[in-house]
Amino acid sequence: MDLPFLVTQSLSGLASASSLFIISCGLTIVFGVTRIVNFAHGSFYMLGAYLAVSIVPRLLDLHYSLPMFLAGIVAAAVVVGLVGVVMEVVLLRRIYRAPELFQLLATFGVVLVIEDLVVTFWGPLDLMGARAPGMRGAVDILGNRFPVYQLFLIGTGVLVLALLWLLMHRTRYGVLVRAATQDREMVGALGVNQAILFTGTLFLGSFLAGLGGALQSPLIAANSHMDIAIIAEAFVVTVIGGMGSVPGAFLAALLIGQLQAFGILIVPKATLVLVFALMAVVLIVKPWGLLGRPEAPATRAAPEGIANLKPFGRVERIAAVLALGVALLLPVFGDAYLVKLGTEILIFALAAFSLNLLLGNGGIVSFGHAAYFGIGAYAAGLLAIRLGMAMLPALMLAPIVAGLFAALFGVFIVRLSGIYLAMLTLAFAQIAYAVAFQWVGLTGGDNGILGIWPPDWASGRTAYYYLVLVFAVAAIAALRHAIYAPFGATLRAARDSAVRADAIGIDVKLYRLAAFALAGAAAGLAGALYAFANGSIDPTLLAIPLSIDMLAMTLAGGIQTVIGPLVGAAAFHTAKDFFMPLTDYWRLLLGLAIIAMVLAAPQGLAGGWARLRSRFSGAPA
């Protein structure tokens, strides 16, 4: 490793840092002003790339020159900026005061919609953008060749930083943005036209995302998966830098760029893990990021989640018995398809129920619950395939492994609150995903592991269904009991008022950690059951989309109720199983449904039932 090599390696680190900064600063500016973490920011990046692929060659046809190339890049970014404006006006405006969970989910709905639209317009194939005239070659740096375009990217990053600095410090708009980032209520008090401020900020943020994507188009083929990949990285940059801080984003992007450039030399297979590990370390030392400021805890009249816990009334008890009866008889009257569907519903019902122990009961917004589902699945699969363990011991051990990982991650997670906590759950889920994806020797990488089947006695569809029924119902009943036990009450107490809980002797973090481990273990059991039901494991079992599915199930059922997530899981999974084969637009429909749910019925299905029940029993709603 000689000096020239280190220099070029460092320069390519700078180039990727520069791209990362351009994208992340848009995310952080939007968060600073609106306090919304925009999942769709990654989709805007992807849109920028696709638009550049379409626009730039047309302009180059008119006149093959560098200015035309640049004009195409900027035009793509402007279009993306306008898409951001539409999103602000149509969606975000209605949810500025909604709980973080709903905001995150709504913007994730946009992710799903844009993903399907992109595939519809541009097709499923990866598309390479046109290369920049005059920047196709390389220059000689200390004897090594270095691409000119990478140098151009470094320069662009610095230019964007400089322009943003001027905008923030030399214009009235910039002053307002900075003021809003520091104190939102104050800006309201100043009589600023918030609509224009917010819309303008969405334009700026989305423009930057689009610019980042467009600039990458000559280097990386545009594809419909680049949104999730980039948003995870952009989250990490903004969280490390401190949410809302542009200089923080710059600093964090530089750190990550160099970490990736040199990390790849030391541990070539673990760059993703390195990046997320950096984030975890930063958050332990500085919970609000390098240049961030502590977020004042939001004060809300009523907490989101399970309130007014009541034991089952007569109607609910009858419904529960009926449901259990249907579940028991399903293989008798149902065909193979129904039995398979029932198996999956039971598994996801357990997963969603365990998520609501955190969400509805503990007020802990976990955005990476699939991690523990996936860890359970991998633990079961690896124990069975690599160690030759029998199914039942594997099913017993997998939840313990998942619970231990949840406890390990939870130690860091429960130190935080609000949006930082949600981001950290997501980050740990991405670490788990990255390990499953990159550690090919153990996990089979992208392909996963095949051939995880139950032993003969449980291998029939019906036999396995009953096995899942026993495990899932037992686990759900146990979790439900925990919710009604003092442990569950203590979690709700800590959610309602951590200050009061602390003042009556409750160690809030310890209880949250215990809940996290318990929920992780239960999700792990669900994952292990899924592994043997499916016969295989792969990284999608730990990926963000599955976490979102679980959130959607829980929310569809209503996080205010204990049983809601079960109803939600059944409704969601049935709908998914029914509609997905029928349409090419499943994600689009799911995205729209999530958005509609957040806007129209944040109480979910079972929440609506609870409201009906209280209306008819005459109790105050």
């Binding site: 907490p303 036990a485 009450a489 709700r492 107490a493 009061r500 409750i506």
Partner: protein, 258 residues
């Protein structure tokens, strides 16, 4: 030995001194009021005693145990019950569930996964609610109560840990004048009957001079006067910096009231 001994507390936030050499003692069954203008350091002193803040110097001794720097949950175990300036309760629960929660924690049952929380310690909780005159509201959601009643429930929560010392940050803030007098009488009665020391801050001079056994006056983080209500009322320094005309009138009215 006094129930509570506070010795030489110092606390600064950046360059702002919030407490400087604050020392005082409090006996069992005694009501000690801490008064002073906004920013005098009342809340700082309270939060240091309650464990929410760690002092730069000094120590706090409760019933012979040094509790300086202990977490609030540990201070509660040592016998300190606390109410807050803005009442802190479990908003999703009923009145009695709020008190049951505190009782479960006190009896070490909060972590139980096997019991059912609904009926646990319910009779005891209703007993405590009876003490503060809220037994009838036991099954109402706490979110449906008037603010004055919430403060009473908060007192019942604080009493669940059989406290030796009650720390009450503006116990009557946000209450109607009539409710205030009733609450202060209730607290004074409980304190004397159960030998509980009460340390409270208050902006309502009628409550302070009408019920406190002793008063401590803070100014810029320092104790500028302390003593029985009459002495404090007559202290010219206190008149100048804090009481003023209207405060004095209220203090006098409270002092001459039967």
């Amino acid at each position: 030995m006094s129930l509570l001994m506070v010795e030489g507390l110092d606390k600064a936030f950046g360059g702002v001194i919030a407490a400087r050499a604050v020392s005082f003692a409090l006996e069992a069954g005694e009501l000690l009021a801490v008064i002073g203008p906004n920013g005098a350091g009342k809340s700082t002193v309270f939060n240091i005693i309650g464990g929410q803040l760690r002092p730069d110097a000094g120590r706090v001794v409760l019933a012979g145990d040094t509790i300086t720097g202990l977490a609030p949950r540990a201070v509660w175990r040592k016998g300190l019950g606390r109410t807050f300036q803005v009442a802190q309760t479990f908003i999703s629960m009923s009145v009695t569930e709020n008190v049951q929660m505190a009782l479960m924690s006190w009896h070490g049952e909060a972590a139980s996964l096997t019991a059912s929380a609904a009926g646990l310690r319910r009779a005891e909780a209703i007993g405590l609610l009876g003490l503060v005159g809220m037994a009838e509201a036991a099954d109402r959601p706490i979110s449906a109560l008037a603010y004055g009643d919430v403060k009473r429930v908060e007192l019942a929560i604080a009493l669940a840990g059989e406290p030796k010392l009650l720390l009450m940050d503006e116990p009557t803030a946000g209450m109607a004048p009539k409710e205030r007098a009733a609450l202060m009488q209730l607290v004074a009665g409980l304190a004397r009957e159960r030998k509980i020391g009460v340390l409270f801050t208050e902006h309502d001079m009628a409550a302070v001079f009408g019920h406190a056994d002793r008063i401590l006056v803070l100014m810029h983080g320092e104790v500028i006067a302390s003593g029985p209500p009459d002495a404090v009322r007559r202290d010219p320094k206190v008149r100048d910096v804090y009481l003023g005309e209207s405060g004095l009138a209220a203090a006098n009215a409270a002092g001459t009231a039967p």
